[in-house]
């Protein structure tokens, strides 16, 4: 392998891991909701879009850095998610209907409403937050003068990645160490048993939907400095989150993190060595492969190891 080839490979891997970190944060919210409610929230990308508009408004009105708007947009999305669960999904759960998964259909409708509301309010123009550090990067040759290869690490992408990692760690701590987190996990494992053990399952559902929305809201704030924004952006990311959820094993947060990174790296490798036009194809190859060969997702691999089977 020549140094040029090595450079391309390493740069591709760096890009893949950074992209994967962001994907993981987008996917983890959907996985959480999936685990507790057993439904796929198909308005997931649209919720992210809402958070991005909040970040955009804060940036254009108050010049607030998009990374700082995480602290405003994520809590707002948390409240929005709780409201959606409480006033829209919970009532639908209680209704007998012909379709078993009518809550899923509700989320589709919700996504459409959000996208169209955004179109009415902000028009379908492309918006972005042109931050000063958008193209800043660290270069290997700046640190190691005689380096035979040149690698670069994007400043905003690295910051987004690090914040995503921190948020994920906090979530892990919350789920494993706190009472509330344990109750959520109990609800996810067996809602009836949890109910018998005195867990307020309805409340856990409301909190989980809020948490999932808040997480994807945070992901939106991390995405906007490196991407851009328009009302119909949601669908694309709902799809990515969906693939990650399936790949990670429905409802497993650790699985979603690994799934996100695997997807990011796989997409980058496809783009480099097969062609960038094939990246969406690669995404669905992974999706179908996961369904056929690994129906339990990455979570089932982890479990197998844990129980020594």
């Amino acid at each position: 392998m020549t140094s040029a080839q090595l450079e391309v490979l390493l740069q591709t891997l760096i890009a893949g891991v950074l992209l994967g970190g962001l994907y993981a944060l987008i996917g983890i919210g959907m996985t959480l909701i999936m685990g507790v409610m057993k439904i796929i929230n198909l308005a997931h990308g649209e919720l992210m879009m809402v958070a991005m508009y909040i970040a955009y408004l804060l940036f254009s009105l108050f010049h607030l850095d998009p990374y700082l708007s995480v602290f405003i947009a994520a809590p707002l999305l948390f409240l929005l998610g709780m409201a959606i669960q409480k006033f829209l999904i919970n009532p639908v759960l209680k209704v007998e209907s012909i379709l078993p998964e009518n809550q899923v259909i509700l989320t589709v409708g919700l996504g459409m409403v959000l996208a169209n509301l955004a179109t009415i309010i902000f028009t379908s123009d492309y918006l972005s937050t042109p931050v000063d550090y958008a193209t800043k990067a660290w270069y290997l040759s700046d640190f190691w003068r005689s380096s035979p290869i040149e690698l670069s690490l994007s400043y905003p992408w690295s910051v987004s990645f690090l914040i995503a990692v921190v948020i994920t760690l906090c979530l892990g701590f919350f789920l494993t160490k706190t009472d509330l987190g344990k109750s959520i996990r109990a609800t996810a494992q067996d809602s009836e048993a949890a109910l018998l053990m005195g867990v307020n399952v309805d409340r856990m559902r409301v909190i989980t939907f809020g948490l999932g929305s808040g997480l994807v809201g945070a992901a939106g704030c991390l995405l906007i400095p490196i991407y851009y924004l328009y009302p119909d952006l949601g669908g694309q990311f709902t799809l990515i989150a969906f693939v990650i959820t399936i790949l990670g094993g429905l409802g497993s947060t650790v699985g979603a993190i690994i799934g996100g990174v695997v997807l990011g790296v796989f997409e980058s490798l496809t783009a480099t060595y097969i062609g960038m036009g094939w990246a969406p194809v690669g995404r669905f190859v992974i999706f179908v492969a996961a369904l056929i060969f690994l129906p339990g997702g990455i979570a089932s691999l982890l479990q197998r190891k844990r129980f020594g089977r």
């Binding site: 490196i226 997409e267 969406p280």
Partner: protein, 395 residues
């Protein structure tokens, strides 16, 4: 009582005729998209038509007739555009049609106009096929897609003389046709196409693709992208320090103000094809652009300039036409040879096109955060900057 009524009616009718003889208006209905995705361009064209009509009327109208404009919203839907034009020709008896924006609509309108033997002047629709169907009554004043990149190709041939080129394009009809045209042009230039890579519009991360470009070391990187992909590409090119002798864009995303606003300093020195700029040295271009900006707060793109000029082309033809029947107007349009804000306009039959105006397409370059016209030299507002500094040299 009845007699009085009769007299009154007679007087009324006579006065109507009399009034008509003195100040008959020339009513012109223009179909264009005022709602939907293309509304932005429709709006710009509407304003430009209105500005032109106002000016023409202030100078005495066409053969002393006042132009009165009406606008019909087609919503960029071919079937609506078709219905509008059928009504204009069959019911309103309008002897000439001007307007529309998208190629799909213009195609539909052109078919109706040809069938009804009514001249139709196309203003901003670029699909090659429209003026290749041996239509007698369809005229087009803007350049066709196939010639869109002429200016850039000429610039490459005379100045850059590239040995290799990498072509990146979005996987749409627009992107694919743009890339194909460049492959053909590269062949003529004797430039080797190192890579021709497709990407999905709306992608987040172009780095894998760009590191491949970096390793291939092409002389020129040519990109056909829409709005935001263009700025994302340049931003990531800057970040990866992909160096080439020149970065060129195939119009669209690279030729609009949003490109500079988003890509910021990464946009510097990038060139792009375009049909018209506010600085171009056609008589009246500057004045038109400034007047438009004064009224509406922003510079118009070529769409506006073309629409504005279209009314002058029409006035010119109507002034020369003996009677205003569709056939006489058609003959007058065919004989058009005039200078407008949009450049010289002459409808020719060549290269398999009929009634097509062939124009010089321009090249713009981002210099100090603004678009400057750099090619062809006679239209340039600033001299081109070439060779460009490498990313490392830029601060």
């Amino acid at each position: 009582m009845r007699r009085v009524l009769l007299v009154m009616t007679a007087v009324f009718v006579i006065s109507l005729f009399a009034a008509g003889a003195f100040a008959e208006d020339f009513k012109l209905s223009i179909p264009l998209p005022l709602t939907g995705k293309q509304a932005k361009f429709g709006e710009m064209m509407k304003r430009s038509y209105e500005m032109a009509a106002e000016e023409i009327n202030a100078k005495g109208g066409i053969k002393k007739k006042k132009i009165v404009l009406y606008f019909e919203d087609s919503g960029a839907k071919p079937e609506t555009a078709r219905a509008i034009v059928e009504k204009l020709i069959d019911v309103n008896k309008q002897p000439v049609i001007v307007g529309e924006y998208t190629s799909a609509c213009a195609k539909a309108v052109a078919a109706v106009a040809e069938e009804r033997k009514t001249p139709y002047l196309i203003v901003a629709s670029a699909d090659d096929d429209i003026t290749r169907q041996h239509y007698k009554y369809v005229f087009r004043q803007n350049a066709v897609n196939a010639h869109y990149g002429d200016g850039v190709v000429d610039f490459l041939r005379r100045v850059v003389k590239p040995k290799t080129i990498a072509i990146l394009y979005e996987s749409s009809a627009f992107g694919t046709s743009g890339a194909e045209a460049m492959v053909k042009d590269a062949e003529k230039l004797g430039t080797r196409v190192l890579m021709k890579e497709r990407y999905e519009a709306g992608s987040v991360d172009f780095r894998p693709l760009l590191s491949k470009v970096k390793a291939a070391r092409p002389d020129v990187v040519y990109m056909v992208s829409y709005v935001m992909d263009a700025s994302l590409l340049m931003k990531q090119i800057k970040e990866l320090r992909v160096d080439a002798k020149l970065f060129a864009g195939g119009a669209a995303g690279f030729a609009i103000p949003e490109f500079i606003a988003n890509a910021k300093d990464a946009a510097e020195y990038v060139i792009s094809a375009t049909l018209w700029t506010p600085q171009v040295k056609f008589p009246g271009a500057r004045e038109f652009a400034e007047k438009y900006k004064k009224h509406y707060g922003d510079y118009p793109s070529y769409h506006g300039a073309s629409a504005y000029s279209a009314l002058y082309v029409l006035k010119n033809a109507l002034d020369r036409a003996k009677t205003w029947t569709p056939d006489k107007i058609r003959d007058a349009l065919k004989a058009t040879n005039m200078k407008t804000v949009f450049g010289p306009i002459k409808f020719e039959d060549r290269e398999g096109y009929q009634n097509q105006n062939f124009m010089d397409t321009l090249v713009i370059q981002v210099q100090k955060g603004a678009f400057e016209t750099i090619w062809p030299a006679q239209y340039a507002s600033k001299k081109y900057i070439y060779p460009i500094p490498s990313w490392r040299e830029r601060r």
